[in-house]
Amino acid sequence: MVEVKATKATHDTTTVLSWYRRMYEIRAFEEHIQKLFSKGEVRGTTHLATGQEAVAIGTAEALRPGDKVLCTYRGHHHCLARGMSPERAFAEILGRATGVCGGKGGSMHLTDVTKGLYGSYAIVGAHLPIAVGMAWASKIRNEQDVTVVFFGDGTTTIGAFHEAVNMAAVWSLPVLFICENNRYSEYTPIDKVCPVPRAAADRAPAYGLDGIVVDGNDIVAVRDAVAAAADRARSGGGPAIIEAETYRHGGHSRADPAKYRPQEEVDAWLARDPLAAAERTLLAAGVDTAAARAEVDASLNAAVRAALAAPEPDLAAMYTDVFAPEGAR
């Protein structure tokens, strides 16, 4: 087991403010979605990532433009961190023609290949073998790109996790398995369904890998852990399993009030909110965060308005993209 701690290096306030701003954008985005859902504007379901912003931004800070990212149905934060347009993300979640997937994907399938986002997958664990294939192609072509695949602690109990990690290890592929351990496998505490304390990292030695554990609410620690693993993978060192310990501030999905969680646990994790921590750091350095919040709020408000005003998909879109357009190669 390797525990990665944050570097002691102090970061200048401009950098910390930039991280704060990016984490705040995710937080505010998720709050908009919750409100839109409550008002009946969002159909189906949503899985918010409030509280997990540091994993997304820390990872994004460690990656290069050519790197590939695959997320789960709880993936809004990863997509925004990687540069997805909030307006097009809102539009997709609202089922509008201007959405990133033209309204055919929804909250659980946000995708933007131009930003290196190769899909959000709504079947638990399904995307881990796909990430292995992405990395396999990079290896075959001798490219330096790494593929990052995010998943939750609950994913470690499904077969695809083990098949994917095994194949990545025996083929020494440049893929980073990043487990966001938010303590809950949907509604069930992970320790009730997983026999080891660190759901992902403790399994790593079975595949000849070091289990890397990092404080998922510490953006610097996440960035450093991912950067080190990515460097190693780029130079042929093979895959890594990184377990980022974090917390889902809300419930699993939709209006889940998450009453199954002990209040003292919730309080302890809320006290470690990565966004509040960054704000404390900035305030201690004499930097006011209000202006950054106001800018993000104005921008997201405009994005929501634009998305709500956007048209529904044309009915003809129903029959496109089942197969390639005639003649495509």
Binding site: K104, I123, A135, A137
Partner: protein
């Protein structure tokens, strides 16, 4: 023109695809060093090396996922699933991920891959290694479904499948392995979605697929001796389906028999019967006949297995009885 058997055509088809396009890579269990569980991939790793022919762990989910990811990242993978029965182990990858990726992302993701698998009964492998499952793939929007009946079609259809921008499930029938046929040299290509009239006739249309094509041909020959002229259609593909060819043949013969190996319920023959009723009802001179596998798991004992799947003698008997009562 080379004469080879169906098993050799598998190797030849993969080799031609790999020679033609360097993006083609091949993965599966025992496909490299061992030359394939059915010796249908002998020599590929020697010609193309371990950088393009990859032996995998016994991990069907990982094989399918890796093929999908590689296809999304610019390669043209051919993945082998040793027995089609094992598709059920990786059905999530096939039906939920591969088939839906293009659609759910509004066309951003493409999954140009071929999943090859050994299909069908007749070799005494028992219920978990003998199923005919093309119909399961046919019902999933986003998948193309191919099942060749002879070496030339196998090589030609595989060329089209590898070249296709969409995912293709390619069913090779185990009971055809030793069937020989001439395969054209060069860039022999059979387009997806075009049925072949393998025997012209005027009295009745028999639609068949894969190992049921030789069964239908043998039955047609016997019925010809009784003065019944059968037109035999080899569908080659279930998706895209050549409805035009089926309708044109029924309009000519006015009678339709479908011969399929899979169990009767929801078999592809039911879909074709339904389509013909919609599109050529007024051409029909009698009820459509469906000859199918029995609604049982494929049994092991030789006599039971033979009785559970359509045979030429059985087709002749059922068609003769139907024509007599018509």
């Amino acid at each position: 023109m080379t004469t080879i058997n169906y098993r050799q055509a598998i190797t030849e088809g993969i080799a031609r695809a790999m020679r033609r396009d360097e993006r083609v890579v091949f993965l599966g269990e025992d496909v490299g060093e061992a030359g394939g569980a059915f010796k249908s991939t002998v020599g590929l790793i020697e010609e193309f090396g371990p950088g393009r022919v990859w032996d995998t762990p016994i991990s069907e989910q990982a094989i399918i996922g890796a093929a999908m990811g590689a296809a999304m990242n610019g390669l043209r993978p051919i993945a082998e699933i040793m027995f089609s029965d094992f598709l059920s182990v990786c059905w999530d990858g096939i039906a939920n991920e591969i088939a839906k990726a293009r659609y759910m992302t509004g066309g951003q993701l493409e999954v140009p891959l071929v999943i090859r698998t050994h299909n069908g009964a007749g070799m005494g492998f028992g219920a978990q290694h003998s199923q005919s499952l093309e119909n399961m793939a046919m019902m999933v929007p986003g998948l193309k479904v191919v099942a060749p009946s002879n070496p030339a079609d196998l090589v030609g259809l595989l060329a089209s499948a590898v070249d296709d921008p969409d995912p293709v499930l390619f069913f090779e029938h185990k009971n055809l392995f030793n069937d020989k046929g001439e395969v054209p040299d060069g860039d022999h290509c059979v387009p997806l979605g075009r049925a072949a009239i393998v025997r012209p006739g005027t009295d009745v249309t028999i639609v068949s697929l894969a190992a049921m094509v030789p069964v239908a041909l043998e039955a047609a020959e016997a019925l010809g001796g009784q003065g019944v002229s059968c037109e035999v259609l080899d569908l080659r593909c279930l998706a895209p389906l050549d409805l035009d060819a089926i309708v044109a043949s029924v309009e000519k013969t006015s009678r339709l028999v479908v011969v399929e190996e899979n169990p009767r319920a929801c078999g592809w023959g039911a879909e074709i019967a339904s389509l013909v009723v919609e599109h050529a009802f007024w051409s029909l001179d009698g009820p459509i006949m469906r000859i199918t596998g029995a609604p049982v798991p494929v049994p092991f004992a030789a006599n039971l297995e033979a009785a559970a799947i359509p045979s030429a003698a059985g087709v002749v008997e059922q068609m003769t009885a139907a024509l007599a009562s018509a």
